[in-house]
Symmetry: C2
Subunit: 238 residues, 2 copies
Amino acid sequence: MGRIIENLNLSEQVTNELGRAIVAGEYSCESGLPTEAQLCEEYGISRTAVREAVKMLAAKGLISSRPRQGISVEQPSNWNLYDTSVLKWLLSSSPSLYVLKEFLQMRLAIEPEAAALAAEFGRDEDIDQIGKAVEAMKAAANDPSGSMHDADLAFHTSILFASGNRFFSHLRDFISTALNVSIQHTTPAKANDLAVADDHAKIYTAIRNRQPERARNLMKYLIDEAKTFIELEIKKQG
Amino acid sequence: MGRIIENLNLSEQVTNELGRAIVAGEYSCESGLPTEAQLCEEYGISRTAVREAVKMLAAKGLISSRPRQGISVEQPSNWNLYDTSVLKWLLSSSPSLYVLKEFLQMRLAIEPEAAALAAEFGRDEDIDQIGKAVEAMKAAANDPSGSMHDADLAFHTSILFASGNRFFSHLRDFISTALNVSIQHTTPAKANDLAVADDHAKIYTAIRNRQPERARNLMKYLIDEAKTFIELEIKKQG
DNA sequence: AATAGACATATTGTAATATAATATGCTTTT
DNA sequence: AAAAGCATATTATATTACAATATGTCTATT
């Protein structure tokens, strides 16, 4: 109420708040959600706004509503995890180290294959974009004001795009989120930045030289390192 | 499995129709969509229903709407391809052989890794489910009345589930859709059914015996065969 | 003539209210 | 005790009204 965050209109705000609450487990599958009328009162808004929020959450697989029965929470296995909002709500509620491990397992499946596809089928102009990202990483490694993080993101998303496969490209938000979480758990060792940039450059070169197997293996190695690091962290904490 | 209530309410019907039209390219990014008022008139329904449909489509990343500007179509790269509805609309409009190739590239990334994860971390009771699917495949191979297709689906989804990773499990609808499209393009060679069932059984055995690398490779081989077949088909037609 | 500001206008955003459809449980009937 | 029917709670749909917000046009000032 008091604080105004947002470009978001009313129903989007309610969607956010309800989505967060559902993913955080504040409403269970059994208990369900309050009725529309109750939600109206709770938020002090009209039924129109509530219903629009309900429809949006239903579109993301989080809830379903039926007459006389009310609004029920869908099983988590039906939630659309590849929806950016759902992912955001999930990260804001789960202990992120475990989610991070799941992220890395997915990245290990996706990214080496994407690199191989980019090397095999990628269009030259799309591969140029990977090169630009590598240059930006090198620059950021030398210049502390440059954003290594942004360049890193650009590198990985440009490879997904260069794969020429829509289903890979579309995972850019997913991978970006995974990288963001990764960063939060990685001690910023600026000294390594140049070595990291070099690892990335090697992948670019393999793609540029149309060496799918080499690109795949280098990418696999890159992510495996991060995974090993995280598994150590989990062992420490748990 | 097939709990399907084809009983769509009004806003869901409109969502379907508009979603299909958008994905089919009947509304471009530039032209945008008709105004809410026009849609009301076109479909002969109230603004409530139209707005709810618009909100659902916006939640799936297909459109966005702003005051005074109207409803605009988002760039296809923003569409949530991992939404079951969006996938359905996509398949109903695209030449499916090409989409099928993209599907298979994704499956080649996901499923071998999922099989390896299942072998490494899968819970025994989840692996049992894979075994049951294999038995069902064998039974269907001998008994023509049995559904090979359903058993095949169950096999692949149970491996995703046994991976223990939510992001893999959630791709079950995606993989199912891919398999369905595959089936449509595969000549039903009932004679091979027993051999096919045997290939699947080997993967199950590898997972059961906790051999991640073997499981990965066998699965890779299985999908690669389908991919090779499809690439031949594409060469024939194009 | 150029530019800032005011204003008209079209379109979505929000609200309020009314009625219909639909399940669920209770009651009545057999 | 089982079946039929009714009451009721809840979402589904429709209608109307007004608010908020951009966009373009017109006006006034320089």
